[in-house]
C-alpha cells in the first residue's frame, strides 16, 4: 500500500504540481469563494430578510452588480478549482496516508471542502440552465453548503498557514524551494540526483518530500518490482520521456488556467454586464431579447394568468386597515406618472436595464393614509408560487423610484411582463418585482 502510494505520487508528479502553484491559485480561488459567499448572503437576505434588516436602494443597480458578480465569480471558479486540484493532486497519495486522529480530521475536512465546492459550483451553474437533476432543494442546499465551504476554507487556511506563508511571494517561494532541496541533499547525501528532482517540484511538506525523494531515488531496486498489471503500467510510465522543460510546462499550466478563466468569464458575463454583451457566446441568457426587449423567467401562461383575470374588470386594491381603494388601470394611468430606468436583475445572474413608467408606490400608500415608514404586502394574481405574496420594506415603499409600473420601454406592459400592473423597485431580485398585481396592503 505504502509503495503503491509513493509510486502513484511519483507518477502523477509534474512541474506545476507544487506548493507555489497551489498558493497562487488558492489565493484566487479563495477570493472568488469569498465574493460568492458575500454576494450570496446579500441575495439571500434580500429575499428572506430578518425583521430588523433594511437594504440600500441606491445605487439602483447594486443588486444587478452583486448578483452578476456572484454568478460570474462562480463560473470563474471552474477553471480555478480544476487548476488548484491539479496542483495538489499528488497530495492525495501522501504517505503514510494517515498519521493520527488530527491528520484524519484534516484530510476529512479537505475531502468535504473539495466535494462540497465541486457540488456547489456545479448545482449553481446548472441552476442558471434551469436544470435540476438532483434529489434535494437547490436554494436550501446551496445556502447550507456555502457555510460548509467557507468553514472548511477557514480550516484549510488555518492548517496550511505555514506553507501558504512560505510560498506567498515569488522570492519566498524560491527560498523555500532551495531550502527544501538543501534539506533533501543533506538527508540524502548519497543520492544527489534526487535533490534536483525536489528542486523541480518542491513537496508540500519538506519531510514528506525527503521521504518521497528517498523512495523514488532508491527506486525499484529498493523493493521487488511490481508484478501484474500495476507493474506493467509502471514500466510503461517509466518508459515515457520525462518533462523536458519544467519551466515551460509550468508556464503552460498557468497560461491554460489564465486563458480558460478569461474565456469562461468573458464569454458568459455579458448576461450580467452590458459591456460584455457583444461577446456573450455561452451564457444561458442574453440581453435585449424577449417581449419589449426584456427577458422573462415566468410567463403569464406558466403563472396561469387568464385573459379574464387581466380584462376590463381588473382592479388594484390598495388597503390600509379599513381604508380601501379599488383602482382600474385607467384610474392608475390618470394619476401622476413617473419614469425610471431600473434593471430587472434575476437571482440567476442575468439582468436587463429597462425604462419604466407608472405610479409611485409611495403616492398609492399615501392615498390610503399610510404613515411614513410603512411597509407593504404585495399580492399577485398568479395562482401559486413561492413569490405570489411579497413583503416590501419601508425603504422601498418610500423610494421615489419604486413604481407600480404600467408601461415598459415606451409600450403598454406585455402580459408576460405583468400586465396590467407590476412592481419595479431599485436594487431587488427579479422574483420580488411582483407581476400581475392584485393588491397592495399597508402593514
Amino acid at each position: 500500500m505504502q509503495r503503491l502510494l509513493s509510486d502513484l505520487r511519483r507518477v502523477v508528479g509534474a512541474p506545476a504540481r507544487n506548493p507555489r502553484s497551489a498558493v497562487v491559485l488558492g489565493r484566487l480561488l479563495g477570493i472568488a469563494f469569498l465574493v460568492c459567499f458575500g454576494t450570496g448572503l446579500y441575495s439571500h437576505f434580500l429575499q428572506e430578510p430578518l425583521p430588523w434588516m433594511r437594504f440600500p436602494t441606491q445605487p439602483t443597480q447594486l443588486y444587478q452588480f452583486t448578483q452578476g458578480l456572484h454568478i460570474t465569480a462562480g463560473i470563474a471558479c471552474f477553471p480555478l478549482i480544476l487548476g488548484k486540484l491539479y496542483a495538489v493532486f499528488p497530495e492525495l497519495f501522501q504517505t503514510p496516508p494517515l498519521k493520527g486522529v488530527v491528520h484524519l480530521l484534516e484530510r476529512a475536512s479537505i475531502a468535504i471542502f473539495v466535494g462540497a465546492s465541486l457540488v456547489q459550483i456545479t448545482i449553481g451553474l446548472l441552476n442558471t440552465y434551469q436544470w435540476y437533476p438532483w434529489p434535494f432543494g437547490f436554494r436550501e442546499v446551496h445556502f447550507a453548503l456555502s457555510f460548509v465551504i467557507i468553514g472548511s476554507l477557514a480550516i484549510h487556511i488555518g492548517v496550511k498557514l505555514p506553507i501558504i506563508s512560505r510560498y506567498w511571494t515569488k522570492n519566498r517561494a524560491r527560498m523555500a524551494e532551495r531550502a527544501d532541496a538543501a534539506d533533501v541533499t543533506a538527508a540524502d547525501a548519497d543520492a544527489p540526483a534526487s535533490a534536483t528532482d525536489a528542486a523541480d517540484a518542491p513537496a508540500f511538506d519538506a519531510k514528506a518530500g525527503v521521504a518521497a525523494s528517498r523512495a523514488s531515488a532508491s527506486g525499484p531496486a529498493a523493493h521487488r518490482p511490481a508484478r501484474g498489471l500495476t507493474g506493467r503500467l509502471l514500466r510503461w510510465i517509466d518508459g515515457t520521456p520525462a518533462v523536458a522543460e519544467p519551466g515551460v510546462d509550468r508556464r503552460g499550466f498557468f497560461a491554460l488556467i489564465g486563458v480558460a478563466t478569461a474565456a469562461v468569464v468573458g464569454l458568459t458575463a455579458g448576461q450580467s454586464f452590458a459591456f460584455l454583451s457583444p461577446v456573450n457566446a455561452f451564457a444561458p441568457r442574453a440581453k435585449d431579447i424577449g417581449p419589449q426587449g426584456v427577458p422573462i423567467n415566468r410567463t403569464a401562461a406558466a403563472a396561469q394568468i387568464t385573459a379574464e383575470d387581466v380584462g376590463p374588470s381588473w382592479v388594484l386594491s390598495v388597503t390600509n386597515g379599513d381604508r380601501m381603494l379599488g383602482l382600474t388601470r385607467d384610474q392608475l394611468l390618470a394619476m401622476p406618472q413617473s419614469e425610471v430606468d431600473l434593471p430587472i436583475s434575476c437571482v440567476e445572474g442575468w439582468s436587463q436595464l429597462a425604462h419604466w413608467k407608472g405610479v409611485r408606490i409611495r403616492d398609492l400608500a399615501a392615498a390610503v393614509g399610510a404613515a411614513t415608514g410603512a411597509a407593504l404586502t404585495v399580492t399577485s394574481l398568479e395562482k401559486e408560487g413561492g413569490y405570489r405574496i411579497m413583503q416590501m420594506g419601508p425603504e422601498y415603499v418610500s423610494d421615489p423610484t419604486t413604481l407600480v409600473a404600467l408601461e415598459l420601454n415606451g409600450e403598454t406592459l406585455d402580459i408576460d411582463h405583468g400586465y396590467p400592473a407590476r412592481i419595479i423597485a431599485p436594487g431587488r431580485p427579479g422574483v420580488l418585482q411582483t407581476k400581475w398585481l392584485t393588491s397592495l396592503e399597508v402593514s
Binding site: T122, Y129, V141, R285
Partner: protein, 157 residues
Amino acid sequence: MRATRGILIAVGVLGLVLGAVVLLLKQDPMQIVGVGLWVLAAIVLHDGILSPLVVLVALLVRRAGRRIPFAVLVIVQVGVGLGAILSLLVVPEIYAKTLGVANPTVLPFDYGLRLALSWLVIAALTALACVAYLARIRRSRAGAALPARPASPTSGS
C-alpha cells in the same frame, strides 16, 4: 501565527456546524443523503476519473511527441485544455436545452454550434501559436549558426 491558526480553525469548525444545522433544518433525511451522495460522487468523478485521465493524456502526449519540440506539446495541451474546460461548462447547457425551456429567452443560443465553432477557433489559434513559436526558434537558431563577426566576437551567443 499560532493564534491566527487557532482562530481560523475555530471559525471554520463553527462554519461547518452552522452548515450542518442549516442542512438538517431545511432538508429531510433522504434529501441529506442525496447531498452526501453528490459530494461523494464529485470527489470520485474528479479524483478517480478526471485527474487520472489528465495524467494519462499528459503521458500519451509525451510518448507520441518524442520528436516534437516540448514547447509545441505544451501549446497543444493548453489548446486542448481550454476546449475541454469550455466543453465542461457548455455540454450540460446543450443537454439542458434538449429537455425543453420555460420560454424562448431561456438558453436562447445554438450552444452546440457555438461550441463546435469555438473548438475550430481554438484549433486555429493553437496552430498559429505553434507556427509562431517554431518560426521564432528557427530564426534564433539561424542567428546562432551565423559566424560571429570579428568586430564583436562576444555577441550573438
